[in-house]
Each structure stands twice: as C-alpha cells, then as structure tokens.
C-alpha cells in the first residue's frame, strides 16, 4: 500500500492503532514483505523499513510477529513512570495524582492470555524466522512497553506487587545478528526482553524496571553487549541473565533492586562484568554458575542493604548470607578491583549468628581474586517509609553504624587452585591455604 519504507502507525489505513496497534504493525510488515520481494534487485531489494510510533497510548491486542530483517520500530519517548509506587498509593488518593500510567510512545500490552500458555504467547513483539540467513538488524528504539498490571500469585500478596502476568515485551526466538534495543522503556512485564541465540546484540541505554525479569539472553550466543542501562527486576527474576554466552560485555549499567540476582550467568565464558553499579536487597547479587569460566568481574560497585519499602518487607530470594554477594562456580575467572558494601542489620542474618560471606568460590579452580575492598556495617534501618527522599536518606546513611564482621572470601573445598590477593585480612579469608594461594590485605602494624 505504501511505496515508501517509512510507516507511521497513526496514519496507516489498516486497523486502529489506539485499539490494536498489533494489527496495524502486522499489516505494515505484510506490506513490507509484499513490496520487497526481490532479493537482488540491483544489489539490494530488501532494505526493510522503519515503523514510527508517535507519543500516545496504543493498546496491543494482537501479537506483533517480526520475520523480516532491517526493521526498526521507533518511538519518541521511553515513557517510564513508577507503576509500582502508584499501585501502592491508597486508591482514594488516585484522583489527586497528576497521572496514573506510563507514557511516551506507549504500547499497552493487552493480549488474551490463557493460564499455563507457552511463555512466548504473551510477548507483545515476537521475532522468529527459519532458514538462512539469520534475521539481522532488527531494532527497537525509544518507545515504551507497558504490561499494565500484575496479577494474584496465590500468596496473598497485593496482586500489583507479584511481578507475575505472563507478559513479555520482546521475545526473540530464533538466531539473530546485530540486533539493537536502545532508548526503550519497559514496565510491568513479567519478562521485559528475552532473546535466544544472539550474535553481536546491543542492549544499550534503556530503562527497564518493575519487570519480573529484565534482560534474559537464553540458549547460547556471542559477542554481545549490555551497556549503559538503568535496570531493576522483581524479587523473583534477574535484572540481567545470560546462559552459554561467550564474549559478552556487561558494562556501565546501573542495576537497582530488587532482582533475585542483579546479574546471573550460567555457562558463560570469556565475558566481562565490569564497571557496573549493582544494588540489591539479597545475597546472590552476581552469580557465575554452571561452570562459567574465564570471565572478568572488575571495578563493579556492589551494595547490598535491606528492603526499605513496606509492601516488600519480608520478601527475599531464599538465599542465606553464606551464599555471598558474588558467588562463583567456575574456573579461571578474574575478580579484580571491586568494591563491596554490605550494610545490614546483624539481627537479620541468616542463618542466625552466622558470619556473612561476601565472595564465595563454591566450585571450580584457578580463579584470581585480587584487590577487592569489602565494607560491612551493622545497621538498624528505619524501614517502612515509601517516599523517595527517605529512600535516598537510607542510601546515604553511613554514619550511625558499626563495623560488621564478615568473611570477605570463602573458598569451598570443591574449589581449589585459586589465588586470593589483598581481598581481606588473614581472618577474613576462609580458604585451604594448602590448596589456594593467598596473600592477606595488610593491616595496621603489618
């Protein structure tokens, strides 16, 4: 219908973008495929297109299915606002609120979901193509995907706090190359971004928060980057998860709570987690599991403190304080130059009376743990206050607290041949000295 490769959802003749932007976009994709049929018309022929979503509210009742390369879907606003805060404001105060919902170029995910349906069915954008080549250069930029509501999970928790609704923002099912996700907002989705089999993927400068899980790179993949994002998952999920990836660069992200883990890697090798700021309310902030090997974890700032907000008090990820903030089951990893702040109430330690662990080498061999600085404080936090300034106040408090005794590095018998340098005093590092090389951080009078 169009002779151009520029589409605007508000001017397309098929469908009603307010009522079902999914139908509109699928019609555009059909049009692209209808017009771009020749693979080699004068050295080109299938350049793809851009679909523009101006600021506005667009309900999505039909899943968008993308099976063409070089498609960019672009808005003009990531539109995040905290739905979590809003839903926890007493309902009688809602009329006093300036606005109730996220905004920008906003997709309202309203798919008809059956119970126990395949996870991919709940995706607003579903990307898959068989055959060769892999899909290349699909881009999502500068719009908002909003899952609208969470729902009861059977626990009796406020339904809007469960992080459960079966909805996914973008789900990429098949092998892909050079995809980009940039400047997006994701909110109130059980999974924001799930990508299988990624090669040279860039997830850069997005706002992904109040989603069950934020970024999951599944299956396997290589040579990708997750950089410069603001991210915070729910207590069940991961802010960043990757499995069987090589050469992944996770850097310059500011990862805030909650997230069962800030970053969890399974079977990931020769990758970097460097230069991130990580904040969590539970142990297990960064897990290198499943034999993750030869990775570099360097110059990250880890902060673990307590949940300050009433609706989530008592929630945790099930891990006790012996798990460590950083937990490694793998070989030949490097852990260099990280700062760890553990700011907790000693009365809350699990198991009670235990000495909390900061870095735990659980299995594997040959890890190099060097020049990490651990700060641990025993505090009695004033929790239960939901306002922003109180949150900041808690975050800033460093004075009225006393030093907490911790194990800075614990090496299990199943892990050996590690080198631990300047990452804790002689008493703070618990490791078999006959099986691991060790140099304690000097102490005064040394």
């Amino acid at each position: 219908m169009s002779s151009s490769n520029y589409y605007d959802v508000t001017t397309w003749p098929v469908g009603n973008p307010s009522q079902d932007v999914g139908e509109v976009i699928n019609s555009m994709i059909a049009d692209i495929k209808c017009r771009q049929t020749v693979a080699d018309a004068s050295n080109g022929g299938k350049p793809g297109a851009v679909i523009y979503i101006p600021p506005g509210d667009y309900r999505l009742r039909t899943q968008v299915v993308i099976d063409v390369s070089f498609l960019r879907i672009q808005g003009s606003g990531h539109g995040f606002t905290s739905s979590s805060i809003r839903f926890n404001v007493p309902e009688e105060e809602w009329p006093d609120l300036h606005e109730l919902w996220p905004g920008g170029s906003r997709i309202l995910v309203d798919l008809p979901l059956e119970v126990d349906e395949d996870e991919s069915k709940g995706a607003a954008f579903y990307v898959e193509r068989n055959g060769s080549p892999r899909l290349s250069s699909v881009e999502f930029s500068d719009f908002c995907i909003d899952g609208l509501h969470f729902k009861p999970d059977g626990s009796g928790m406020h339904p809007e706090n469960t992080y459960v609704n079966g909805k996914t923002g973008i789900y990429v099912a098949s092998s892909n190359d050079s995809f980009r996700v940039t400047g997006m907002g994701f909110v109130y989705l059980e999974n924001a971004l799930t990508i299988y089999h990624a090669d040279a993927l860039s997830v850069h400068d997005n706002f992904i928060a109040e989603c069950g899980s934020c970024i999951e790179l599944r299956g396997w993949g290589q040579a990708s980057k997750i950089s410069d994002n603001l991210i915070g998952a729910g207590f069940r999920g991961h802010s960043i998860y990757a499995e069987n990836h090589g050469g992944l660069l996770i850097t310059a992200n500011n990862v805030f709570p909650r997230g069962a883990s800030s970053v969890r890697l399974d079977g990931v090798t020769r990758s970097s987690v460097t230069n991130n700021r990580l904040h969590s309310f539970y142990p297990g902030m960064l897990i290198l599991g499943g034999g993750s090997s030869e990775n570099l974890v360097a110059t990250n700032h880890f902060l673990r403190d307590h949940e300050p907000w009433t609706p989530f008090l008592g929630i945790d990820n099930g891990l006790d304080d012996l798990n460590g903030l950083l937990c490694v089951s793998g070989t030949n990893n490097s852990v260099i130059g990280n700062h760890f702040s553990q700011i907790i109430d000693s009365q809350s330690i699990q198991p009670a009376g235990a000495t909390p662990v900061i870095i735990r080498l659980r299995a594997g061999a040959g890890n190099f743990v060097s020049n990490n600085h651990v700060v641990a404080m025993d505090v009695h936090p004033k929790s239960g206050d939901s306002c922003f300034s109180a949150q900041v106040d808690a975050l800033l408090t460093t004075e009225a607290s006393v030093r907490l005794s911790v194990t800075s590095v614990l090496v299990d018998p199943e892990s050996s041949g590690n080198t631990i340098l300047d990452s804790g005093s002689d008493t703070q590092v618990v490791a078999d000295r006959a099986a691991n090389a060790f140099r304690p951080t000097p102490t005064v009078g040394f």
Copy 2:
C-alpha cells in the same frame, strides 16, 4: 489545537520560533495539558508528546516551563562549536571566519536577566511540578543550548572569558524520575544542566563545554548515571558535581579542562567514578568531600598539566599543589587502579619548593588505596600558543622532561585506618604507619 502528540516549532500557529521559541514551546505545553486531561482514559490519557526543533537558529526570550511528564524535546544536531576560540580571535579577522556561532538545532538564550536575580530565572528550560507523582521521563535530546555571551565579572578579564552570564540551560527544580538528557550540546552558559532531586536520571553522550559549570546534581538523589559525555567546565565551576547522591555511576566520560574540579562530590555515598578520562590544569581534580563514603574510584586516567592558552594564563582554582589531584574527606572509599600523570613546571609549584601531592586523604577512615600508578614530570611548557595543533603537541610531549619528585599519597592525621597498597614507594607515601596499613610499591632491587 493539535490532535497529535508530535509538534514542530516551525509549523506551530502561535508565536514566532525565530523570535521567541520559548513562547512557542510554552504554547505547545499548554496545548498538551489542554488535550490530555483525563488521567485514566482506557488505561492511559496523558502520554505526553514530542516537540521537534529542526536545525535552525531560535531565539528564546521567554523561559520554557515544563510541568508535564513524558515530554521529549528533540532536535537534529548538537551544534557545538568553540565560541571561546572565536571570541579570542582578533575581531578584524572575524569576516574571514566561515561561521561565527554554534549551530544545529540551536536555542539562543536571550532572557531578560536582572542583576542578582534568582539563579533559576536564567534557565532556558525550567522544570517543576508539585504534588504526586514526581515528574517522569522528561527527555532532552539532540539540540543545542547556547548562552551566546559571557559578561564582565569586574576582574578586567575579557568579558567573553569569564564564564559568567547568569544563564542556565536546563534547570530541574523538583523531584524527578527517569529523566534523560542525551546527544545535547551546551555552550556559553554559566550553568549547563542543574538538576535537583534526581532518581534514575541518565545524562548520556552529550557535549557540554565552555560552560561555567556543566552538570550539577543538587539536593539529593539516587541511582543515576552520567556516562559517555564530552565535558569541560570553566575555571570557576565543576565539570561534574553531585551532592548527597547514592548509587551514582559516573563512567566513560572524557572530561577536559578547565573546571575548578573535573568531578566534585559532596556527601555522596556508594557511588562510582570509574573508567573516566580526566584532564585538568589545577589540583583538586576529583574531590570526595562532605563525608563522601563507600565510593569506588577506579581505572580513571588523571592528567594534570599547565594551561597552554594565553587568555587564561595565570588563572587557577586557588588550590595549591598540596591538595592533591584526588582529595578524599570521607570513609571507606576505594581508590583502585588509577593512572595519574602530573606534568608540571617545578618552578610553578605552590607553595614554592613544596613536594606536590597526588592523592590526599584529608579526613575520614578506612579508605582502600590500591594499585595506583603515578607518573610525574618536570617540564617547561611552551605556552601561549592557541592553535589546535600546538595544544595537541603539548599533550603529546613526553620526552624532553625529567622526573618530578611527588608525594603519591599523603594521609593527614585526621584520616586513619586506611590501607595503602602498591601506590607509591616507601618515600612517596606519607602516612602514619601506626594508624594506616601500608605496603610500598616494590622498587628495583626490592
């Protein structure tokens, strides 16, 4: 007047964008508020809008006041050029110049300013809203804000070199969430970007130079990032300043002179200054003040050398060479893996004959200073040359210089319980060995 949420300043019926783009944009914001009145129309209703500023010169005589969420103001060009170089070219040569002013999508800030008026009055864009929720997701991208001229400061200095004019680019007065400032250019403003009470702010990939102060995060805030910017403030101000922030990530910035400080943090905790390139003409390049604690300062490159440009010869920030390039008044910070180059003329050291200090721990306790490399050279710079190739030449010169004796780490009596490892030889580190843990960098023959 519009039924769409896409606005273009050149086609709007109210006002004249060349004469006063402020009036035009305020009229658009009024239109947005007039049209978007229902907070919950089918789960939406207030998506905000995008206001587009095509490349062009737009004088701003009326302050833009933003009090709606989800507003993006967007141009197509950051438009920086060096006004400083131009104003210091002899006036008789101006007719030979290809162009005289910055460009791109350019706002010419021309507000009627009274002497000693409240600072916020001089802001081109003023952002404030009372009540709940906080403003969310206001975005500024890809345009230029030009303050046009500096003015006499009473010192007798050339008026265009004072960095004083009472003008601010963007001033955010009230609590805010998920704001973005991306791809912008700021030039010849006394303050480029002043933001109070920021939560999850992103200041990313901007060009902010020849402004008195560049980025100031005031009041308090949390979980924000300042990343991947090119920044350079005036001799009075700060390239990056933050107070009472927690979880701030300052990374991957290239901060060039001048700037009284490249980065100054007051009362900032659990934050990161990592992986930046910092260049300054004065001591006090990075100051952690006001009890800034538990921060990570890692893998930054610090270069301090001399002002090479005639118009600013003799100007400094009032700090002598005992202040250190990095000065810490705070507790439990980590300073790991930084490179420091101090390239100065020993004849210029203040106080005369003193041994300059690189890292100074002035007050506090428990800081961890490890694996920092200090290079210090005594040079006799050829100053007074303004051309770009000469500047680069000065920056590249490493040969015809001799090693300068410095104190790599100085720990004041008011700071104790610190750990200093591999950051200077036994003679280069001045600290009470009974109050601080110390391991000297090995020297040849060790």
Copy 3:
C-alpha cells in the same frame, strides 16, 4: 530550493537517490550554502541542516563532499548483515536465502575507482574545509554504508574475502571539532572510518564489521572517545587505530576478530584503553607503539584463540607468539587488572616449541604492570565449521583442555625501570630483576 533545514533524499528535486544519492546530497549541501550565507544574522545564520535517508537502497556514484559545519546525515537503520557469510555460501544456495544484502538506510558505494588512486578518492563521504574555524559538529547517524564487494588481491584467495576494494565509508581530511558518528553500520569497505586531526570526536554505539580497517584516527588529535561499539576488522587492518592522539578514551567496545590488531596505538599518550572486550585470532592484539606513553590499559578482557572458519584457515597477521597479546614500546604506561585468555593449539605455536608471550615490554621504561590474570590452555580446536552455533560452541569450550605454559610478562633489555606486580609467577615473568621491580603472583604454598 528549500526554505527549511530538513532535507529528505527521497523528495529532493535534483537527482535520483536510487541511482546516485551522492548527487542528491551534494545538491542539498549546495542549497544549504546558498541559503546560509550570512555568518552573523542576528547572532546566527549558519545553523547547518539535517539530511534524512529513509530505509532503502541508495546507490552512490558521486562522492559526497562536506564542507559545512553542523550537518547531520541521518537514517533509520544501521542495516548490517554478514556479507562475508553470504559470499561464502555456495552460489547455488543463494536463491534459498531470505535476503542477500545489507539493508536499513543503505548507501551502496559504487564509485568509479582507478587502480592506485589516492585513498581519499574512494570515500563515499569526504569531509574537508580549509581556513578557520575548523569544521564542527558534523554528525553521521543511523545509516548503513556498504562497499558491496571486495576484489581479487592477487593471492588467489576468494575475491570476496580479501578486504580490499579501495573504498572508504567516511574520510575526514581536515581538522575537526565535536564530530559524532553514532548508530551507524559499516560493511565491506576497505576502510570504514578514517579521520584526521580530530578534537573531541565521539564514535559511539556503531556496528563496524567486515571492513579492512574499522576506525583510524590519523595525523594527530585529542580528547576524543571511541565507546560502546561492536567492531571487527579484516586480517590486514585494525579494528581501532590511532596515531599521535592525546586524551583518547577507548572504552566499552566489543571488538571481535579478525583485525591484525584489535587496537593499535602509535605515538599515543595519556589515553585510556579500559573496559573493552577484545577477541583476536593472532598475537599483537593491543600494540602500544611509537613511544606511546602514560596510557592506562585496564580491566580489558583479552581472548586469543584460533580461526575457526574454513575460508580464513592459515591466514594470520605475520606476528609470532613471542610478540605477546599486548605489546608495549613506550614509557610510563599502566597495565592494570586485565584478564588474558590464550586458548591455542600448542602444535601451532610460532616459532615451534617457543613459550608464547602474553605481555611484552619491548622498549621504553617505567611501565606499571599490575594484577593481570593470565589463563592459557592447550586445545585441539575443531575448525572448519562455519555455522554460528559451532562458533559459539568453540567460544564456550573450556573443559577438554590442558594448561599451556606461557611467559606472562617478557621485558626486553631495551625496556627497563618497569614495575611488574602480581602478573605471573616467578617462572612466568622473564625480566632483568636488577633493572625492573618485580613481585611474583603468590602460588600455593607461598
């Protein structure tokens, strides 16, 4: 012809953008210069323009010549796909491929090139202006430059694998300030991006692969950044090259093979190579040559393994395994907290039987090499498989291998006064202990 500063190549009256987009864009630039003639019309007058390239295939038969500041050329899609994989698919299978060419907003570089012509003649975009001021704020964003084909190099290699065709994407010949290259795709060019005399340049978040050389900063320059790019050059060229630059920040890049070097710096000083992920099939991954001094190389992940893909088996960069993955000829550099994985077949080592070197200090003095972790494995790779999942499989393999003996640091007699700490055991570091300070990494039982 236009009264606006917004241009669209598909609606411009001059030329045919499908047949020669170069002619179209040059006509637009002429129009800009024709309309913007007054340097100081009400404090402005030459704001530049944006030229928009919608998604589509645009042949370029005339070189675009840019000699105005504040010009942004912008598309809606970086459009990368692997031409290399496609050209190595048997031709009889091409009809089964979904698409054959890159896409997005795609420039097909089809300049008439003579043999041995000056390199700049082969540039799709040529940028140069004499006089003052330097060109400022030229921006390239979000489009694709495709060189289409490589050509025979006389070696008998498949012509599409030679990385030779005399074509350059963007060539900046004269001094420039505050340029930006963002969100671009470059493919099948002999040189993607060649920039002379850059000041405060930003090359950010691009996809530059399957080009002979990717980013070359030539001549001299300062205060620039190359950040957050996905990059991979051909076996002859460099992924990132810079000469005589000061204050360059190279960070957060994911650099994949091939590339004779991942990063090569000649005469570069006071710059940073930090926080990158580097992967190569040859030694000489990062070379600090030509007296490069006072640079910081920190928290990078280096992986060197073997070429897995049949078409390039037997190709190398001519350097043997004694050159090191990181090779330094220069003074006062810092090499801190890097991870090195060397995963090679011991049968392939050159010279045969040699002990491979990881870090080599070849000439200079005063370098600080601290806390680097070297992992070296002897493997028998299954090569010859071209599919993506097999590549990832090779990248992930860490198990069935045995440790390989390496020299972690080799200091030549021509380099002295270096400090080497915790970067290898006593036997792994080969250096004159009387001329260099050395502390071995502790080993078990130490």
